[in-house]
């Protein structure tokens, strides 16, 4: 297994102001983005936001209304799908039901030069790579969901494409299987070093698997960043809301300082917020701040902190085994905030209506426009 390059690779795919209309419907509204060679890239967004459409414009199944799509520096406008250096794993897997597993995997080799033995060897290798050694002679329709998925992967990877496109490849699998396949896909991607572009509406999946994620809403990319930045420094409330849970409080930007902003947050008072905590670059006036549940901590009897402390009442307790989620109504704030605590020994789960102290740090806040 090779280490991932830490330096960004050269650009593999470039979108320049890509627009797509289905009749009157504006499905892609000015997509401009670059995807680097060798990265695991995800398109994340709610249903109907245009993820599949964007993926299909890369594959060549969907023509674009205006703009440019470049793959490896070449304009794809005149290149049909069967001549693009991309291969796709379909959501339904699209395994050819009348062929065997080996015939499915070797389908793309039909048009390649090379001896029969050589092709058979490549099929065997591809099957081995996805953990289906010895399945070649099976009828393709007699496979489980997870096995089909692997056949589809092997079939797409055997041609060594520059880019592998995956449209919600894991959505048909059960939870356990999905988690296994996520890990396997990451390993496989590192092994082959091919650019993977994954479409998903599952934010957890995207966070786990991707080097970088483009979050899409209504045909536009709202934010394109690595998972950590996306999670810790979302640019808009919409992105913050879509990825994980975030508490929002109304706020007022009182002053713009050298380091960032002085903000009056409802119920929490004046906070100093750095430039980095405000990726959406607010201009002043009414705004809102957000914070993740895990950035709040319940202080038990006798615990002290250098962070700031608010008091409140527990309104709801949701027990998850390793974690407990609390909805706490802080004094001076109308809506309860959600916070999460690891369940460690000596840390009892609080009851509803318990009075408690909650510590928080201004450094964990995100300021939104």
């Amino acid at each position: 297994m090779t280490e991932k390059p830490t330096m960004p690779g050269p650009t593999m795919i470039e979108f320049r102001d890509v627009q797509k209309y289905y009749g009157d419907y504006h499905a892609l509204r000015g997509i401009t983005a670059e995807i680097r060679a060798g990265e695991f890239f995800s398109l994340l967004g709610p249903s109907g936001c245009g993820k599949t459409t964007l993926l299909r414009t890369i594959a060549g199944f969907e023509s674009i209304s205006s703009g440019v799509v470049l793959i490896d520096g070449k304009d794809m406008a005149q290149v049909p799908a069967n001549q693009r250096p991309t291969n796709m794993v379909f959501q339904s897997y699209a395994i050819f039901p009348h062929l065997t597993v080996a015939e499915n995997v070797g389908f793309g080799l039909r048009r390649e030069a090379g001896s029969r033995e050589d092709k058979a060897r490549r099929v065997t290798e591809a099957l081995e790579m996805v953990g289906l050694k010895g399945y070649g002679a099976r009828a393709a329709h007699a496979l489980s969901g997870g096995q089909r998925q692997r056949v589809a992967l092997a079939r797409a990877l055997i041609l060594k494409p520059k880019v592998l496109l995956l449209d919600e490849p894991l959505s048909a699998l059960d939870k356990k299987m999905r988690e296994n396949m996520q890990v396997e896909l990451i390993k496989l991607q590192r092994q082959v070093g091919i650019t993977f572009i994954l479409v998903t509406h599952d934010q957890e999946e995207a966070l786990v698997m991707s080097d970088r994620i483009a979050v899409m809403f209504e045909g536009q990319i709202a934010q394109l960043d690595d998972p950590e930045t996306l999670y810790r420094r979302p640019k808009t409330r919409q992105v913050a809301d879509f990825i994980g849970t975030m508490n929002f409080l109304p706020a007022e930007v009182a002053a713009q300082t050298n380091e960032g902003y002085s903000v009056d947050v409802a119920g929490l008072g004046r906070c100093e917020i750095t430039e980095a905590q405000a990726p959406g670059a607010p201009t002043g006036g009414p705004a809102s701040v957000g914070f993740r549940p895990e950035t709040l901590t319940i202080l038990y009897e006798g615990q002290t902190t250098s962070d700031r402390v608010s008091e409140g009442t527990v309104e709801e307790v949701v027990y998850y085994g390793d974690m407990t989620y609390y909805d706490v109504k802080l004094d001076g704030i109308d809506t309860p905030v959600r916070l999460s605590m690891r369940n460690l020994p000596g840390r009892p789960v609080l009851d509803i209506r318990t009075r408690t102290r909650v510590s928080w740090s201004p450094g964990a806040l995100v300021l939104f426009r």
Binding site: N82, Q83, M88, F90, A94, F96, P97, G108, R110, A140
Partner: protein
Amino acid sequence: MKGGTGFRIYAMVYLVFLYAPIVLLPMFAFNNGIIIAFPLQGFTTQWFAALLDDPPLHDAVRNSLIIAVSVSILSTTLGVFAARASTRFNFPFKGPLMGLIMLPLVLPEIIVAVSLLVVLLGLGVSLNILTVILGHVLVCTPFCIAILTSAFQSLDRSLEEAAYDLGETPLSTFRLIILPLVMPGIVSALLISFTISLDEFIIAFFLAGTQATLPVYIFSQFRFPQAVPVIMALGTILVCLSILLLSIAEFFRRRGLARSGAKDTGGFL
């Protein structure tokens, strides 16, 4: 259980009504007597022997086979094009056009036959096997389209895209992926149009000119009492052939299903 008995009796009566006449066919085909009535007169194979020595009958069988084979191939081919076009592409006036093509399905056949006759005579075309083939293609194509449309519709579009994505051309995708997967539908369409053409009477009667088809010939023979047992023998052979043909078709359909792993949704048997 009460409702069950009632339904069972109904089913019995229904089956007897449907199949009893067909059972009578071989009975009188081997009956040593000209009159079709009980009691049976004893066993004979002379009616079958008479079939062998009947040149006009042989001509009619040959005509019918030529017509049925041509019609099934032509209308299935047309059906494949139409079904593919209507399930995959959108074009102007698609609805009305498809409706127009399917119209013969509901038009009284006698109307179709008479209008065709008028037009053909008006054009000065001489009536022969070709004109019957034209007429039959007109009525068989809608059946083929109906069968093939459901076959094409059940195809997952991403199968085509996958083949295309893997470097095949639209044409080779059609040959390698689509055709094998709709093959059971094509076999059904071939068979149904063959069967429809083979026993179609009205159009053949109007358009055949001097080249009678089998049904037309059989109809003409009913004027002669001594020919009736011969027709019974002919009918027996036809029934056996139909059963054989349908069994073959069903065999292929099931094998196609098993190979593609699809769920069996009945088919025509």
